[in-house]
């Protein structure tokens, strides 16, 4: 098994791997099992794995039950995150103290996970890996860089996120249990469970826009030109992009300089078709935000094309909404 596993690690370049490979599988039974065993304790991982997977027929269903259990039971602990980031920043030039802190923090984080079902990203990925391994499903923790709307990417010098790769039916797939579990409540900033299915066996090309692995093999993209520098220039993508899009084609950069009356064009591949009234742009000029409809709109075989023309000079944050969900942000400088 181990030899086979190492062998597969060497050959991770493969045909595109995504959830649609399992379109014929109904995950209802796996999801129900995750619900039935909600609130089970984390003191006996083999026992929990057995309960969640024993009655399922395929590896993808077994993995789904484990993944869903993690996503609906484990809360993201922002206090723990802030404490860790503060210390890591404090010790960033002192490797000895940093190693000691990492070791101490591991104990704190594991206890918090077992006793309170609360953790930060690596805790989600580690727990999922432990459960999957117990079910004999090869699963890796992928450490790397993530960009969110509240992170200053120019200061992104060390890995700040963990997600997973899982080996199913002789292919590696990506998933992000942390971001699938929920988000901070916009009003209180406390964690709010809000399952997002888009991060389960997510499209690698979408993942590469806001996840860059320390080991680029885990991009799972063949012949890609993506590297850390191109990653820092990608647009800001949000969780809803994963639940609404198959691919984000263009604009492929975050920042644009354009001329007045020049077209600013989007091209996206949708999971489900939309009507024109469901697509809006919210344009922030620094002092106010105004909502506009695109100048032109077309959907052909689920590929959406929209255009907008800036008629005034200025610097704008341009937010794209589909079905009232925030998909992406670009910044656009318009000159004469």
């Amino acid at each position: 098994m181990k030899i086979f596993y190492c062998f597969t690690l060497l050959f991770i370049f493969q045909a595109q791997a995504q959830k649609s490979d399992f379109a014929h599988i109904d995950f209802k039974k796996a999801d129900s099992l995750a619900l039935v065993y909600k609130n089970e304790r984390l003191t006996n991982i083999p026992q929990l794995t057995e309960k969640l997977t024993a009655n399922l027929d395929t590896d993808v269903e077994r993995f789904r039950a484990l993944y869903k259990w993690v996503c609906i039971n484990i809360a993201n602990d922002y206090g723990l995150y802030a404490r860790n980031m503060g210390k890591r920043h404090q010790f960033k030039n002192n490797p000895e103290k940093l190693t000691k802190w990492n070791q101490k923090f591991k104990h704190i984080a594991i206890q918090q996970l077992i006793k309170k079902h609360r953790t930060i990203c690596t805790g989600y990925s580690y727990l999922l890996q432990q459960l999957a391994q117990q079910a004999q499903i090869p699963c890796e923790i992928v450490n790397g860089y993530a960009r969110t709307s509240t992170i200053d990417v120019d200061k992104l010098t060390a890995p700040n996120h963990s997600w997973n790769a899982v080996y199913l039916n002789e292919k590696w797939y990506l998933c992000d249990p942390t971001w699938a579990a929920g988000i901070p409540n916009p009003a209180t900033n406390y964690f709010m469970f809000k399952y997002n299915d888009g991060f389960f066996l997510a499209e690698p090309e979408l993942m590469a826009i806001n996840h860059y692995p320390e080991d680029p093999r885990w991009l799972l993209l063949e012949n890609t030109t993506t590297n850390f520098n191109t990653f820092l220039k990608t647009p800001q993508l949000y969780g809803s992009a994963y639940s609404n899009l198959a691919l984000y084609c263009s604009p492929e950069k975050m920042r644009y300089d354009i001329k007045k009356n020049e077209h600013f064009s989007y091209s996206l591949q949708l999971l489900d078709s939309v009507t024109v009234d469901k697509v809006t742009l919210a344009i922030d000029n620094g002092s106010s935000t105004f909502e506009v409809a695109p100048e032109s709109f077309s959907v052909h075989r689920n590929t959406l094309h929209i255009d907008y023309i800036f008629k005034h000079r200025g610097f704008y944050d341009v937010h794209l909404y589909i079905n009232d969900a925030l998909i992406s942000t670009h910044t656009v400088k318009v000159v004469n």
Binding site: N44, A54, Q134, P184
Partner: protein
Amino acid sequence: MKTTSITTSAIKTLGVFILFMCMGCLTNTLQAQTTERTVTGKVSAADGPLENVGISLKGSTEGTVTDKNGAFTFPKKLSTGDVLVISYLGFKTQEIKLKDDTSFIEVTLEEEYVTFTGAPNSEKPYKSKRSKE
């Protein structure tokens, strides 16, 4: 003649007795291999006993956890060949296959090296930093 007969009879009786003794021993040995027994044990890490370690019977939902002294008594009687899985988050999982005479197991778990990081996602729209003009 009588003496010979008694001697023969005594030898026969003794033979039967020895045969039964041998059979008894054999049966006991067989029983030792197949008899279900209560298994107890203790789990520690490098710095002492570990509480709440999961002990489960491989391939079943039977299991228990260790107490504050790292001790456990498995709730179901176990047989030779059964595999106990000893697991605790943050440590490498171990599997112990029960031998003929196993009724107590002592396990030291090895720590796993994991560095924790995490970036919470956000649905807050991105806001450019603008210099005040």
